[in-house]
């Protein structure tokens, strides 16, 4: 079918306004937040309901046409890039169907923005725990597809731990529900399998998210160190005490300075080599004892100073610096690559040293701002993607950093997904049969490989499996 004919069909299904054909309109969808990659979709379709998603997907299925689901496009791994493929944008599906305050569950459409959901449940004294730094823009559908995390996932867990059920439009247009909003079904954990499938298993049309009561009390501390490794040791010491902080975030000097030079200045000491932002929450009773323990751990590890936020304003300010750190770093150069990798917590000091050495060797400036309690690193590099030489050095440094994390027993992504960006590292992390098994699982959902083609698992691994399948 020609593109024009397809567009005409789609217009008839969902209305002419919601099918974007003009180059200028499609260009708005030619990238996500991963710098240096552009891909122009052939068409952009914006269905307005579950039923419209189904009818669009059925039409595409009938003609064997691939598609890429897209939320807000804040992904950092190129997951929603669509090269000459149809993009199904989900931003119009922004309804919160219900909030069940008694059972701590909300039923939402996939295009609901994370922060909007947070605001909607707040009056009930509830919150949705996963809080990616992009929460002002990213969607629940995108969070489910990437299994998103955030600073408070140290204590409360990632998206996987907070989704009760999803309704999925499979790539053939069939609507199925995985999980349950009211009970704990047995059988295979298809809901768990779907979370983090990066748009390759179909489109989430409905999501039932679990909510938590807002903790009655909270304390936020900022400790500053004259060496990164001291801060890293403090992290291990805190965790070893048995306290599970709600968050334990680290920022290095380059990040601190970028933040302090921006409109998000949070009052971080600019001469510190690193700051640790720690938060504990829960019952009021015993919370101050935890704060004292954390303070002691920090001081014993060499902290120069430990500051405890005494007012809500002060606390919000400390957090603002952390939440807006990417934005602040983004001001330094035209592009910012936000990396994502995880290492065992005890390996943080060694890996941070290795990262600094790699950056120096390639003449690139690596800034670290990350979820230290989880060992989830975000080594970021500000650069100019249009400068070929600089880009090449950035890429070389990044692949060495990934390898260093793998060598330390870690993984290549803790929350941003594989998408396109990390495809090249999958072979280093997984054996051929492991990748082949992933392909086999994907083919159950999408035998024609039309949903977000070419992402997550390198294509050669799938060919292997195809050759071996019974």
């Amino acid at each position: 079918m020609t593109r024009d004919a397809l567009a005409a069909h789609l217009r008839a299904l969902i209305g002419p306004r919601w099918v974007k054909e003009r180059t200028a309109e499609r260009t708005a969808y030619d990238a996500d937040a991963l710098p240096g990659y552009r891909a122009l979709p052939s068409l952009v379709v914006l269905p307005g309901s579950r039923e419209e998603i189904v009818s669009v997907v059925r039409l595409l299925a009938a003609h064997g046409i691939p598609f890429v689901p897209r939320g807000a496009g804040t992904g950092l791994s190129g997951g929603s890039l669509a090269n000459d493929t149809v993009v199904i944008g989900l931003n119009r599906l922004t309804r919160i169907h219900s909030i069940d305050a008694a059972n701590h569950i909300a039923h939402v459409e996939p295009g609901v923005v994370n922060a909007v959901l947070q605001r909607a449940v707040a009056p009930f004294g509830l919150l949705y725990a996963p809080d990616p730094s992009s929460q002002a823009a990213c969607t629940i559908g995108g969070n489910v597809a990437e299994n998103a995390g955030g600073p408070h996932c140290l204590k409360y867990g990632v998206t996987l731990n907070h989704i009760a059920a999803v309704t999925v439009c499979l790539p053939n247009g069939e609507l199925v529900q995985f999980g349950s909003a009211v009970s704990e079904p047995d059988g295979y954990d298809l809901c768990g399998l779907f979370i983090g499938s990066e748009g390759c298993f179909g489109i989430a049309t409905d999501v039932w998210v679990r909510l938590l009561p807002v903790a009655p009390a909270v304390r936020t501390l900022l400790a500053d160190f004259s060496a990164m490794t001291d801060a890293a040791r403090a992290v291990s010491a805190i965790i070893a005490t048995g306290i599970v902080p709600a968050a334990l975030e680290m920022m290095d000097q380059a990040t601190i300075r970028a933040v302090e030079a921006s409109i998000y200045a949070a009052g971080y000491p600019t001469d510190a080599a690193a700051v640790l932002l720690a938060e504990v929450d829960g019952l009021e009773a015993g919370l101050d004892a935890d704060v004292r323990t954390i303070e002691r751990c920090c001081r014993e590890a060499g902290a120069r100073d430990v500051r405890i936020a005494t007012t809500e304003t002060e606390r919000a300010r400390l957090w603002q610096g952390r939440k807006k750190a990417f934005g602040a770093l983004g001001r330094i150069a035209p592009h910012l690559v936000v990396q994502d990798a995880v290492v065992p917590r005890t390996r943080l000091p060694a890996v941070l040293d290795a990262i600094a050495a790699i950056g120096a060797r390639h003449g690139v400036n690596v800034c670290n701002v990350f979820h230290a309690g989880d060992g989830n690193l975000h080594p970021n590099i500000s650069y100019d993607a249009d400068n070929a030489d600089e880009s090449a050095r950035v890429h070389a440094a990044m692949s060495e950093i990934m390898q260093a994390c793998i060598d330390a027993g870690g993984t290549i992504t803790g929350e941003h997904g594989v998408g396109l960006d990390k495809l090249g590292y999958m072979d280093a992390l997984f054996t051929e049969p492991s990748l082949a098994a992933m392909c086999a699982v994907r083919e159950v959902f999408d035998p024609e490989r039309r949903a977000n083609p070419g992402k997550v698992v390198p294509i050669h691994a799938c060919r292997e499996w195809a050759g071996r399948a019974p």
Partner: protein, 379 residues
């Protein structure tokens, strides 16, 4: 050992020989029909990697929960998972059956605690999923797929679990009040109490009696944390009635495996309907003249677990098994049977009969040799 196991499975695949996977062996008595030559993985045991500072532990699947408890306990850590199981139950089987207990309301279910695993598929391929770090989204989540799959998609050979530091203080309190107060009235104050218990379990009188408590409805509250936090919560409990501290090992009795002649079911529904679920299950047992059912409930999770003594003559009260296995749960709730007599299992609705589940089975075990029949799946 692993290579041999993989070869054996590859051979079984080639010859289409069904295999019945055996860990500690305790599940074999659950009555579930399953065909196959025994494939014993209990010898595959021992800790592979344990770095206390990382709060993660990697072990072979045949390592017993008891052994893990001992090793992590020495570092003041634990795998915060307390399923009903024999001490010889293995971590592999715990993951394969997704078995949990009262602590799950606080620390999560098995799916929330497994970080990675290695398994051998039904074609004899050794496959790794997840990793050894606490956060990981590299590739599709086959860890969740194998968790609770009862070995039907692969023989789990190794798992990495998330551990916790043991709370500084870990105390259990029992509140047993007279049975005339309605369940609602007894549970209502819980919602507003400033407590965040590690576990909150309601026990019926026969279960309380079997644990050596007074034979009355009994609320068990497990409190953990620093001394100040535990003390404040302990004081708050006074609003519920007479509070008795009990030794932690009394609670361990709750973890004992159910006698093999018991019917065991877990019924889950919305937490707000907990008392309805509880009453439905109790009334169901009464109606069938099933004496002395031991019932307990994880209140915040909306889960009611029932263990019903079922000597041979008891089966006479059951009537039709087909309706029995379904009607123990109120409408809208879900029942997961753990133990039933062999002839009752065919009446349990199969939960892996949908197109995706059968497709996954075909993809990972094309000759349908692993634990065939165990999930009541169509052959």
């Amino acid at each position: 050992m692993l290579a041999d196991l993989a070869d054996r499975i590859a051979h079984a695949h080639a010859t289409r020989t069904p295999l019945r996977i055996r860990g500690g062996g305790s599940w074999l008595h659950a009555g579930r029909p399953c065909e196959g030559e025994p494939l014993d993985v209990s010898a595959l045991s021992g800790v592979i990697d344990y770095e206390p500072g990382d709060l993660t532990l990697t072990a072979y699947a045949g390592t017993t929960l008891q052994e893990l408890d001992r090793i992590t306990g020495a570092e003041r850590q634990w795998l915060a998972l307390d399923p009903c199981a024999a001490p010889t139950a293995t971590i592999g089987a715990t993951v394969a059956t997704a078995s949990d207990g009262p602590l799950a309301s606080t620390f999560g279910r098995v799916r929330d605690l497994v970080l990675g695993l290695e398994c051998i598929t039904g074609t004899g391929e050794r496959v790794r999923a997840g990793g050894r770090v606490v956060k990981n989204v590299a590739g599709f989540d086959l860890v969740r797929l194998h968790t609770g799959a009862w070995g039907t998609l692969g023989v789990i050979t190794e798992v990495t679990m998330r551990l916790r530091a043991r709370p500084e203080q870990d105390d259990v309190f029992a509140i047993c009040a007279d049975d005339r107060t309605s369940l609602e009235r007894r549970l209502a104050p819980l919602a507003d109490l400033p407590i965040a218990p590690l576990a909150l379990e309601l026990l019926n009188a026969p279960l309380a009696a079997s644990l050596g408590f007074e034979p009355r409805l009994c609320l068990l509250v497990r409190l953990g944390g620093n001394a100040e936090r535990v003390a404040a919560q302990r004081r708050a409990l006074d609003a519920l009635g007479d509070v008795h501290e009990i030794a932690l090992d009394r609670l361990h009795a709750l973890r004992a495996a159910d006698p093999t002649d018991h019917l065991v079911a877990n019924i889950t529904h919305e937490p707000s309907r907990f008392t309805d679920t509880w009453r439905h299950v109790s009334a169901f047992c009464d109606a069938h003249a099933l004496w002395q059912p031991r019932v307990r409930g994880s209140i915040r999770r909306g889960l009611v677990r029932v263990s019903i003594p079922m000597p041979d003559e008891g089966a006479a009260h059951v009537g039709e098994w087909a309706s029995f296995v379904r009607s123990i749960a109120p409408p809208g709730a879900h029942v997961t049977w753990e133990q039933l007599p062999m002839h009752a299992w065919p009446h349990v609705p199969c939960s892996v009969a949908d197109r995706i589940s059968t497709g996954l089975r075909r993809a990972l075990d094309p000759a349908h040799i692993l634990n065939r029949g165990l999930l009541g799946e169509p052959t």
